[in-house]
Structures are given as structure tokens and as C-alpha cells.
């Protein structure tokens, strides 16, 4: 597991549901075919209303043109991130688009579990509301050891909640790796 995640922030509002992350109509692509898999990255966050896409100003699509990778790799959200259905394609599509970490005030339980257990992205909880402090495109750095996020564009540093009981699963890269490393399977 990397000790630091460095990259550009993409900022979203509250209650980002799984349909905004990956709309139901796109769930038909195979997840094992590498070419079809790219579609998940291409359509990641495609249902976020354009005025909410890339806060504070909006109007910044997460994916440009035909790409399946985004130039942003750290998502900063608000409360109740990932609410809605149990679809695991939601954290998967963020991973395919190149996202390494999500930082949000709170998560819907199933999205949080799916992110950790599938080893797709690391879901960090912030101790305070950050989606009105960090701007889309800011250079940010998440430090896993000290549980902090630094915004190099503004010079501010904010506390994140320690990963706690899921730390070991995150470190292993998912539930199956964790279970193998601990001789559970």
C-alpha cells in the first residue's frame, strides 16, 4: 500500500448516489473483458448534473472526451457518499477512471464496504466538511500514516479519521487478499 496519495482533487456535493457514479444502463458491460471494462471508467460520474460537476464552479466533466481515465485521482465529497443501490460497479468505475482515494464526511454503508472489500478505492472520512474548502483541480496529498490531507494549492492541512478496523483489509488490497494473507482461505 502506498503511504501517500498525491494528485488532483475533484470536488462533489452531498448525497452522491450510485446512479450518479455509474448509471444503471451501463451495468451491462463485462467486468472481466479489459476492453469492455474501460467503459466503466468512461462513464464514471457521468450522471452528476453538470452544474454540480467539479465544485465550486461546476461545468467540469470528470472524464474528457473519449477517455476512460480522468485527470483527477482524489475525489472530495460531502455527506452520504455512495448512497442508493448495492452495485459494486460504483467503486469499480472510479478505480478504472484512475481514482485512488475518496475523502468524504460520511458514506453509505454498502458503498464503503464495496470500496474496501473489493480493493477499488480507499474511502477516507474527513473530520469536517471539506467540499467547500478544497476546489476542483487543487493539488492535494493524502497521508495514510498520519491520516491527514494537505491542500498544496492553499497550504491548508485537515485531519482524516483513522481507517480503524478496515486498515488491515485496505493494506492488503481487499478482502480476499487479506483472508489469504491471514490463512483464512
Amino acid at each position: 500500500m502506498e503511504k501517500k496519495i498525491i494528485g488532483k482533487a475533484y470536488v462533489l456535493g452531498d448525497n452522491i448516489d450510485t446512479d450518479q457514479i455509474i448509471p444503471a444502463e451501463h451495468l451491462v458491460y463485462s467486468t472481466s473483458d479489459p476492453e469492455e471494462l474501460k467503459k466503466y471508467g468512461h462513464f464514471a460520474l457521468s450522471s452528476v448534473p453538470i452544474e454540480q460537476a467539479g465544485l465550486p464552479f461546476g461545468g467540469k466533466p470528470f472524464i474528457d472526451g473519449d477517455n476512460h481515465k480522468s485527470k483527477f485521482n482524489i475525489i472530495v465529497g460531502g455527506s452520504n457518499f455512495g448512497c442508493g443501490s448495492s452495485r459494486e460497479h460504483a467503486p469499480l468505475s472510479l478505480q478504472v477512471a484512475g481514482v485512488k482515494a475518496v475523502v468524504a464526511e460520511s458514506y453509505a454503508r454498502i458503498f464503503y464496504r464495496n470500496s474496501v472489500d473489493g480493493g477499488f478505492v480507499i474511502p477516507f472520512e474527513s473530520s469536517s466538511k471539506l467540499n467547500d474548502k478544497i476546489k476542483t483541480g487543487d493539488d492535494v496529498e493524502v497521508d495514510l500514516e498520519s491520516s491527514k490531507i494537505t491542500n498544496h494549492s492553499s497550504g491548508e492541512t485537515y485531519r482524516l479519521r483513522p481507517l480503524g478496523s478496515v486498515y488491515d483489509i485496505v493494506k492488503s488490497g481487499g478482502l480476499f487478499n487479506y483472508a489469504r494473507e491471514n490463512n483464512m482461505i
Binding site: 451491462v28 472481466s32 452520504n80 443501490s85 460520511s106 454503508r109 478496523s165 478482502l175 483472508a179 482461505i185
Partner: protein, 431 residues
């Protein structure tokens, strides 16, 4: 300090004497349920991760219901059911309920109850967010993604964080114009869509005691709409009677201790409540029916695991007897058993089925149907700028089909009253 029912079940399933909220534990799973949408990817992960030696931990405990995308020409949807059928054949699964056969059941959460998989004191996981429905039987039930389900399929175990509990007490006698749906819409309005995230929602009080199991399942079903991990109702004579009828006799009953810790408590008097709706586009956008009365409708829908149970149809039929609907109205029995009951149950000597047919409703085959939109040939699906009132559970944009449509969620009484008038109508007008 005492423990809540949910904590007691967690302690039992993790072989501990006590657990505390926030603690992560490994649970022994009693039943794993999956369906046609999440079953195939779950099986794919299970095969990939366990490889050659992939073994189902206990075939008796794996239950599979095709129910979501059933009556459609969509080839991807049909491919999913084919994959399940092939898997069930290859592994000789005893609990696969194939479509097109006598065994076909319909919506998974209702079928779990009817087939006796809901056993008090046990732990049930399902690859569907509404798996929380089963909590009406005094058990722990919750939804998970495909990776977690694949892990359970191979090991019979999964980690889970012990939730804090919120207690909802409903006092008073249920007025005839109030149903369980109004109660859960009230809660959603009060605590919003993330008010119970990572928490257990425990229901109790005189009004809950007077409800049958189907009404109780309406409450626990929509706990996920508040972000809840699970909903739970303690076993009482109503539960025991239901279980006895279907020969489920071996189970353990748990009750919350007097001094159990609750994150928060809410108390309601049902006699003071009014019929409610959730306005577009969120289940917590609650309002009184009387405040939106007169809203013109293009479709009415009575169905799904939330509002397609026998009791829901009994409520609706009470109003629709001898009436004609003014807008297209769909009746979708959640299970094949309920479809049969529509023929067997009667009001004033007329079967529910005849009441609906005479009123001009369209009766569809049992499945999830338009509750989640589905492929374009799904019956009841919203199109273009439809304005729909529905007994289902979610009204996010596009959930029932068209992103341009407006969906109001309400009780079967309110939907039936609105179907008769062609506009949103308070059911008290017809009672």
C-alpha cells in the same frame, strides 16, 4: 449495560458473550441470498478468487431467486438468468427457484419470508440493498456487494461492524386510513436519507404489535432508504403464528434489554398521523397527501417488495371495489403466491382479482417489474414526462424508467384513491 436485539444476534453469530457498537466482528452467516442481477458477477468473483478449489460453503444455505429482469426480450438480462440456471444445475443447488417452472416465486425478499428462510435470531445476507426486509422476523438481515457475497459463498463468514441502534416506538391504534407505508415515510421525512447510516432501526410499540407480518416488512424494507444497516422487530405472537403456519418451529427469540443503549429514540402516536407521500425525487421528500392533492397523474402502480404484498392489495381493493380507475393502473403481485391469493381472497364476495379487473387495472406477472425501471419492454415502466404515484420504495430520477418522470411514493390506500380520481387524493375521501 444491556444489549439490543441486534447486538445480541451479533454476539451469538460471532460466538461472543457480548459486543459493543463500533466493534468489527466476523459473523457466521445462516443464509446467503442472491438474484439475477448480482448473482452472475458474484459467482464470477467466487470462481476467480477461490480458483480450482472453489466450493460452496453450504449448498442448503445459498438461495437464488431470479426476479429482477424476468419478462423481457433483453438478451443481456436473459443471459443472466441462463447463467444462474446453469450454475444451479452444475452444483445441484436445492434452493434455486427457476422462472418458467412451478418453483418460480417472484421478488426475493417476499419469497424469503414465504419459503421459511426468515428465521428469528439468525443472520441473513443478500446481494440486494432491500435485504433488510427480513428483519421483520427478529433476525439480522442486510445487503452487501458482490465481493462480500462471493466471500460468504466460499467461507460462510463475513466481517461487519456492530451498529448502534435507533428505536422507533409507535403508540396508539392504527386508524383505518394509515398503513405501515405512512409510518416509514414519516420516519424518512424526520431523519432523512442518511439518518440511520451504519445503524440498526428497531421498531416497537402497540401499533407495531397490531400489524401483520406483511405490514411489518414494509417498515423494515425501507430502512435502507434512511441508510440503515438493518431494521428489526422483536418476535411476538404474530411472528410465531406466521412461522408456525409454514412449519418453521426451531428458532431463538431475542429481545432488547431495558437498559440497552440507543443512539436515539423516536416516539409517535399513530392516531395523530395523516396519509403521507414522498414527493419527487427522494424518499425523504415527505409531505401530507392533502398538501399535494389534485396533482394530475398519468400512471398508478401497486407492486414491489414494499407495496405488492397481499395486505397492500387488500387495502387497495377496499377502495377499488365497484369503482373505475381514471388513469392506467398496474397491479404487480410481488410473488406468485400473492398472485394466487388475489384469486382466493375476496371482499363482499368479489375476489381481489375481479375487483381490480372490473376497475380497469392491468394485472402483471410477479417480478420486480417497473420498480427499478428495467429494460425498455418492462411492464409499467415510466416513459417521458409520466407523473406516477407508486407503492414502491425509491423515487430517485429515472428509478422507474424515464429520467423526466415524476414519481410520488405513497401507501396502497393513497394510490388506490388517486387511481379512482386520476389525481393525487387523500384516501379518507373514499373510506
Amino acid at each position: 449495560m444491556g444489549m439490543t436485539i441486534t447486538e445480541k444476534i451479533f454476539a451469538k453469530a460471532s460466538k461472543k458473550t457480548r459486543v459493543a457498537p463500533g466493534e468489527s466482528v466476523w459473523l457466521d452467516v445462516d443464509v446467503l441470498m442472491t438474484h439475477d442481477v448480482c448473482g452472475p458477477p458474484t459467482i464470477a468473483i467466487w470462481k476467480k478468487e477461490f480458483g480450482e478449489k472453489a466450493k460452496i460453503w453450504d449448498k442448503e444455505k445459498l438461495v437464488i431467486f431470479p426476479d429482477h429482469y424476468i419478462f423481457t426480450k433483453n438478451t443481456n438480462a436473459n443471459r443472466n438468468v441462463d447463467l444462474l440456471r446453469e450454475f444451479a444445475r452444475e452444483y445441484d443447488l436445492p434452493n434455486y427457484y427457476d422462472v418458467g417452472t412451478e418453483r418460480y416465486k417472484g421478488v426475493c425478499h417476499i419469497a424469503l419470508a414465504e419459503e421459511g428462510y426468515n428465521v428469528p435470531g439468525t443472520v441473513l445476507f443478500g446481494t440486494d440493498s432491500h435485504t433488510c426486509t427480513s428483519g421483520a422476523f427478529g433476525m439480522f438481515a442486510t445487503g452487501v456487494g458482490n465481493t462480500d457475497a462471493a466471500f460468504i459463498m466460499g467461507t460462510g463468514k463475513i466481517w461487519e461492524k456492530v451498529p448502534e441502534s435507533i428505536k422507533f416506538t409507535f403508540n396508539g391504534k392504527m386508524p383505518e386510513y394509515i398503513t405501515a407505508k405512512d409510518l416509514i415515510l414519516q420516519i424518512l421525512g424526520d431523519i432523512t436519507t442518511d439518518g440511520a447510516t451504519y445503524r440498526a432501526m428497531e421498531f416497537g410499540g402497540e401499533a407495531i404489535g397490531s400489524m401483520n407480518m406483511m405490514e411489518r416488512m414494509t417498515l423494515t424494507n425501507m430502512t435502507i432508504e434512511a441508510g440503515g444497516m438493518n431494521g428489526i422487530i422483536a418476535v411476538d405472537d404474530v411472528t410465531r403464528h406466521y412461522l408456525n403456519e409454514i412449519d418453521v418451529t426451531q428458532y431463538e427469540e431475542f429481545n432488547s434489554d431495558e437498559d440497552a443503549f440507543y443512539h436515539s429514540q423516536y416516539k409517535y402516536d399513530v392516531e395523530l398521523m395523516e396519509p403521507l407521500v414522498a414527493k419527487p425525487h427522494s424518499p425523504d421528500n415527505m409531505d401530507k397527501v392533502k398538501n399535494v392533492e389534485g396533482t394530475n397523474l398519468t400512471k398508478c402502480y401497486i407492486g414491489s417488495c414494499t407495496g405488492g404484498k397481499l395486505t397492500d392489495f387488500q387495502f387497495a381493493a377496499k377502495l377499488l371495489l365497484g369503482q373505475k380507475v381514471k388513469v392506467t393502473t398496474f397491479i404487480v403481485p410481488a410473488s406468485t403466491q400473492i398472485a394466487k391469493q388475489l384469486e382466493a381472497e375476496a371482499i363482499s364476495g368479489v375476489s381481489l382479482k375481479d375487483i381490480f379487473t372490473n376497475a380497469g387495472c392491468i394485472i402483471a406477472e410477479s417480478s420486480c417489474a417497473a420498480c427499478l425501471g428495467g429494460p425498455s419492454d418492462t411492464i409499467g415502466r415510466s416513459v417521458e414526462g409520466d407523473v406516477v404515484i407508486s407503492t414502491t420504495n425509491r423515487n430517485f430520477p429515472g428509478r422507474m424508467g424515464s429520467k423526466l418522470s415524476q414519481v410520488y411514493l405513497a401507501s396502497p390506500l393513497t394510490v388506490a384513491a388517486s387511481a379512482i380520481s386520476g389525481e393525487i387524493t387523500d384516501p379518507r375521501k373514499f373510506l
